[in-house]
Amino acid sequence: MPYNKPVPKPSPLTQPFWDGAKEGKLMLPKCVACERVHWYPRHICPFCHSMNIEWIEGSGEGRIYNYAIQNRAFGGWAEEAPFVTAYIDLDEGDRMVTVLRGVDATDPTSIKIGSKVKVEFEQASDDIYIPFFRVVEDSS
């Protein structure tokens, strides 16, 4: 079945991220001056305001900061509801938003904050692969 959910349109700022995603890599912007990773991509480092920013390949690993269940949704997502949206604290620092894979949205309390997750990509179009995260180890 063709991908039927919203597909982002890259801009020059974000193109390296989407290029990486197509190859299965989670590319992250990192400030050359203060060496901190920030998310989402910016023209300027939000920590030290240097404009010297490079892209690094992230580990794709992190932990669940927070999650909630989307019991209703629109468009293609409506067919998938309920599903679990989550905020992931990346091992490299800062936070991404995602939909969790490998969890049971009908049993919300079975999902644990702090659980370890790993990125995976789903093809949405010829050039766009969207990052999702899968729980690989429950928080104990």
């Binding site: 959910k5 919203p6 597909v7 982002p8 349109k9 890259p10 801009s11 700022l13 974000t14 998310w39 989402y40 991509p41 910016r42 927070n66 999650y67 909630a68 269940i69 989307q70 019991n71 209703r72 949704a73 629109f74 997502w77 998938e80 509801a81 309920p82 599903f83 949206t85 905020y87 936070r95 991404m96 938003v97 995602t98 939909v99 919300p108 904050i113 949405a124 969207i130």
Partner: protein, 396 residues
């Protein structure tokens, strides 16, 4: 002259009809009806308005009214924009740029479903934060605020049931306000008092939020006039003094919210209290943005009205209820009175009515809604717990 109390709110009025309107209405009409009403209420002619403050409407409104303001503000950062407009108007009056300011609101949140309009403008799809969040099925405010509930529960050991008390008590206030959509079975098929079970068992929207944790989506228009002291003291209406005003923000996109249980209401609250020379303990009334039960409860914590993690207890223990020591959301709130999408004007109008002693006039209430409060903290929260404006208002 000090900035504190350099201006007063001298009148506050609503559109002729608000709520779930049977005949669709435009946002512009809601604006204009409220502006006309507040002009009539105060006796200030529309032609005397020198500053116009609105969420992007100021140029269109001024032209529609045939006026030529010398101060034009279009701050539009969500539902707290109106508290910010009051802040900005206070500064403009204090600086001597204008003597009379209009803050105006019109939003056909309900009618927009049939005739379009509403108050929301689409974001830029190329914005990096949008690209990195648009693929995950979020569907409006509840889908974001549910995350904050989960964080509060996780951090403080609270439960959604704790927050349900906010909905029950706020509904109790609505039963004292005939203008409230959920006043009674006569005003709405699901109106009248509700129980904790009603809240907990209502339809799930975004776990852990059920329907009755979420605000209404109605049509609403409102306007307030703000004037310098010499004018404020000369009018037929009672002035309500702007003793403190401040604003702040922690983020725009929730991706950048560091702690989902803490908002910039702490910063804007502290600054507003400081300007007023008053503290949380001095507040006799609170009007707190309740887009969701948790919004009001977290804001109460941020404003120092309750300890961290325990905001919900103000409602659970009855302090916020009619007859309680700190009445909160005496109009019935966004949960049960009205919420057009941006709720900040609704707060201003109720604060003015309470502090001017007009909360129970023939259109606005029945006995029991008017409090004895002489001080009120008003806080608006916009976006995804993003932006805040706090006012400390005092009676004349």
């Amino acid at each position: 002259m000090s900035l504190s109390k350099a201006a007063a709110i001298v009148g506050a009025a609503e559109a002729i009809e608000i709520g779930y309107l049977e005949e669709p209405i435009t946002s512009l009409q809601l604006h204009i009806e409220a502006i006309k009403a507040v002009s009539d209420q105060t006796g200030i002619p529309i032609s005397d308005i020198e500053g116009v403050f609105s969420t992007g409407w100021s140029s269109e409104l001024s032209e529609h009214l045939g006026i030529h303001p010398k101060y034009i503000d279009t701050t539009s950062v969500g539902g707290c924009s109106f508290e910010m407009h009051v802040h900005h108007a206070l500064l403009a009056v204090y600086a001597g740029v204008i003597d009379v300011a209009l803050v105006s609101h019109g939003q056909n949140g309900w009618s927009a479903r049939r005739i379009g309009g509403g108050g929301h403008r689409g974001g830029d799809p190329t914005a990096p934060a949008t690209q990195m969040s648009m693929s995950y099925g979020f569907s409006g405010a509840p889908s974001n605020y549910s995350h904050a509930m989960v964080s509060h529960n996780h951090k403080f050991g609270t439960t959604p049931e704790d927050f349900a008390h906010v909905a029950v008590v706020t509904r109790e206030w609505a039963t004292l306000n005939p203008r409230a959509v959920m006043h009674s079975r006569e005003t709405h098929e699901f109106g009248g008092p509700i129980t904790l079970d009603d809240v907990n068992n209502s339809r799930i929207i975004s776990w852990p939020l059920t329907l009755l944790h979420c605000c209404l989506v109605t049509d609403h228009g409102g306007a307030v006039l703000i004037a310098k002291p010499e004018i404020a003291k000369s009018l037929k209406t009672n002035p309500v003094w702007i003793a403190g005003a401040a604003e702040n923000m922690s983020h725009s996109n929730m991706l950048e919210m560091d702690d989902f249980t803490a908002t910039s209401a702490y910063a804007s609250g502290q600054a507003a209290y400081e300007m007023a020379g008053l503290g949380a303990d001095d507040m006799e009334l609170a009007l707190l943005y309740d887009s969701f039960t948790l919004t009001a409860a977290i804001t109460a914590e941020m404003l120092g009205l309750a300890p961290r993690g325990e905001g919900y207890k103000l409602w659970k223990d009855g302090h916020a209820a009619p007859g309680g020591r700190l009445p909160i959301n005496t109009n019935g709130g966004g949960l049960s009175f009205n919420h057009s999408g941006m709720y900040g004007m609704h707060l201003l109008i109720e604060a003015y009515r309470q502090l001017s002693g007009t909360a129970e006039d023939e259109v606005n209430g029945i006995k029991g809604k008017q409090t004895n409060a002489r001080t009120c903290v008003v806080n608006g929260t916009g976006g995804s717990l993003s932006t805040t404006g706090t006012l400390v208002l005092v009676a004349d």
